[in-house]
Symmetry: C2
Subunit: 127 residues, 2 copies
């Protein structure tokens, strides 16, 4: 499906994190969403959460589709590669692929798996 | 205390995360520790955890001091700024400052607060 969806179609990004009852917990993810919008104003961005916080992934997807997104990239904002990133999130994305057959979903690897993130964390620790 | 401790004295870095029963959860933090050692072999590095995983911060500190560290930088590996990063960890570091009056502790801000991390996450999401 991805191959048939041109990269020029409107992109929605979901930053997907665990969620927390603590409002301050959310600030970094909200800051990342703002930074993405500042870097590329054509990209639609939503934060979404596994639990304890709204919206969930389905609600964020609905919102992005309503805003015009024709492809969705889901970014797992997890540093640790636990069950949430390895099992729960892929299952949620699989369900959405069935629900939206015309929408191209890309599920990125968890940010903690990305070599650029490992490098950045090492750089920060040494600074 | 920090001002009286020359920056040439042996440095120990503690990467401090939440902890998990899941062994795979730990891989990114261990990868960061390896990357730090690769970038500067003079730096002593330990991972430590708030719960569910050993060692805790006190044990990691003991180990670094036994290995020769005279100053310790604690890096809170939390993307969300919840109670763990804002309250639990500073309390643990305060206790260690009392226990090791000759040791200079630096508690970095949580990695999720660092603008370089926000930039990196935005970059990864857009890539």
């Amino acid at each position: 499906m991805l191959k048939s969806t041109p990269l020029t179609t409107p992109l929605g990004i979901v930053l997907f994190g665990h969620g927390s009852r603590d409002p301050l917990w959310h600030l970094p993810m909200q800051a990342v969403a703002q930074r993405i919008r500042a870097r590329d104003s054509s990209v639609l961005v939503q934060c979404a959460y596994l639990e304890l916080t709204q919206p969930d992934l389905a609600e964020a997807t609905r919102s992005l589709v309503a805003a015009g997104a024709q492809r969705i990239t889901v970014v797992p904002v997890f540093l640790g590669l636990g069950k949430h990133a390895r099992e729960d999130l892929p299952a949620l994305v699989s369900a959405l692929r069935l629900e939206y057959p015309g929408l191209a979903f890309t599920l990125q690897c968890a940010v903690g798996e990305d070599p650029r993130m490992i490098d950045q964390l090492a750089h920060i620790a040494l600074s």
